[in-house]
Symmetry: C4
């Protein structure tokens, strides 16, 4: 007996399944995927190609390209973050087999901060050489990530925990990992946001970010070892 | 016996089903989803990142960001409205299992006003500080919504009511709710549009919008209570 | 016996079907759909929102909007044409159940002219008030449509006629209608293109377009009557 | 017995299959498709429509269009290359029926260079008339292609070779063809990149490109003959 059949039988026993239920869940996932995919691809259109005239030499154009280094760095950062949020969203849909109006709306709240990424990323890149303004841009970028993370956690909570009947049971280890991952991300971003109101020294903030990311990696490894025991 | 099998048998009894029929309906839904997803994500690219020079301070940039408040408000409004239209479109496809040329064209008429949202939203945001022009922008935005709402109602009427054989039976309560929701939205937007030709006082218009949205919410609650009895 | 089962059995009898064949055909269709959907939605981003200053009045902005009338007209025209090409492409996939490298490449050649629409449409709109330049823009727009039409016909020929084994049999009436539709569109656009090299009088050309579209509609009706007999 | 059933039985025998496994693999493919489709369609928005004033004549506008010839050439080149990478990616998913975190991340690394195409293509077009700068632009464009090719090879290696249990067996000929195709592309681009550091004579480089593409075609034909024997 495969789990597929088991689940199918169980459904038919409990309540009649709408003939297009699977298709509708799929469609919700694909609509969300399309928004993620467009947001991640639009990141590039805010990086303007250097203007080249007849007087341009490889040296002057190289300088113009080097000036774009913060834009490229911001793009890579946002690509990683959006890809990460998409992977979590993707992972949740492995379990979801039905939805109601509330989970539908929770999903829209996941998509809302995602479409802001091209803006906050470009703003971060634009202000990268002005030490005063970059703190403001960093705050906005952090806020964008806090909202994304929180929205994904809320979606998880609505679809997997609160409306259990709409998802396949998630293993307890998976639940712990997902919750800790998502909430930890949110909390780290929140703490860094608070720190930007204490010190505006960008160097100190960078160090705090590096330390917290490293300590998260260590914690992850420890947690995984524990769960395996 | 699950409803899935019932419906399948019924189809085969009535008329032979094309082997790729389900796939083609799916594709129509996904094409529409892609258009909705792109329109909703393109909303952000009309909000231009503030230009930052070496003389910018957090204060001057903050002022530039605050200047964008109407753009952000317009984006949130349009996001909510497009998401709403998508949810209705999504809901209809729960029932549709086949289509003909006319429903196909009706679906294209749903997509046409949707792709105008990035324009009417940006125009609304752009004119937000000019009290004379905002009435014009509001009219265009309302027109965009009236056409979207009407197109969705027409699509519903074509696919569910007129060509019954192309959809699974919708419960009578669902029909009432869908019709009242969609037509009510259309009528409210239409009334507000007419009012903008009587008074150009933006404050009065805002109050009328708030009152009509609130009364709709109350009506919804009453209607739901009735249908449950 | 449903045709679904018939076809399935027939396949298994003839040659072994790859377990992911249906999925791969689907993916090809969805990739194409995404390109169509993006091209159709990008049409709007070339229509720039009028700049509004503190001195703008509803009258000056109205004039600016009226100036955009050719842009809106061009958008509606391109929307109709792209939607039309998509519907044909969509119709073909009702029959295609497999593909080879050649049909894959033929599909890419369908997508290539489609992505040019945002450019040729914007160019057409931009040149609309310069009677000399509009002929040039019209030629480019016609060329874009000729290539789109031809590419769809080639794709049809490759996937349905030449590699019969890759599609479900199309009814002879459907074949006649599809061929006449697609080739007729191509030929009309080609004739109009040739005419622009004879006369550059835009009014005469407009009349020729109106007459040919009308006569096509009449021919369509006659053809349908014939096929029904 | 169809291979479909064989594979299905084999899976159920070996280990229990998650009820949504197929759907999740599909979703990964569609998310990737969406990114490819957006990147390929965004190529057009970097080609700006010529500005037309009342003084423009068909001659002046024609000159402006001719000035865009490098942009159109670069677009066609990038369209071909992205379509090619997509076809390879598409081909791999014919075999993949499951994935793990590592293949998921490998897929993201395929998408990352793809979203850079609108930038490197526009930069290549922009610098086309400045003989000094075009070498720089060519290097960037080559780098973009090297990374794309390498990422696809890595994805193939992860999903098909290293984690054999996640894919249907690929025929040995297919493996040879895929590997030689992908690695050969990478190596050719790499050699040309190295040559740009030896000579900056664009004409010599163009000849080298033409010769290597031609010799690849000849090699392909020879290889195919061999594999058929």
């Amino acid at each position: 007996m495969t789990p597929k059949l088991d689940t199918a039988q169980q459904h038919h026993a409990n309540h009649e399944k709408h003939p297009k239920q699977d298709f509708q869940v799929e469609r919700l996932a694909f609509f969300s995927d399309a928004v993620f995919a467009i947001a991640i691809t639009l990141l590039i259109i805010d990086i303007k190609v250097p203007k080249i005239t007849k007087d341009s030499t490889s040296e002057t154009v190289w300088v113009q390209l080097v000036d774009l280094r913060y834009s490229f760095f911001a793009l890579l950062l946002s690509f990683t973050l959006i890809a990460n949020y998409w992977i979590r969203h993707h992972f949740l849909f492995k379990h979801i087999h039905n939805y109601n109006r509330k989970t539908l709306i929770a999903d829209m709240f996941v998509l809302l901060p995602i479409i802001f990424f091209p803006f906050t990323t470009a703003f971060f890149a634009e202000s990268s050489e002005n030490k005063q303004v970059i703190i403001l841009a960093l705050r906005l970028f952090l806020l964008n990530n806090i909202l994304s993370s929180l929205a994904i956690y809320t979606f998880y909570w609505m679809a997997i925990i609160k409306h259990k009947e709409m998802s396949f049971e998630m293993a307890i280890q998976e639940k712990i990992t997902f919750t800790s991952d998502t909430l930890f991300t949110t909390i780290i971003f929140l703490i860094i946001l608070l720190i930007t109101f204490i010190t505006e020294n960008f160097q100190i903030i960078t160090w705090i970010i590096i330390i917290s990311v490293t300590s998260k990696k260590i914690m992850d490894t420890l947690l995984k070892k524990r769960l395996k025991q």
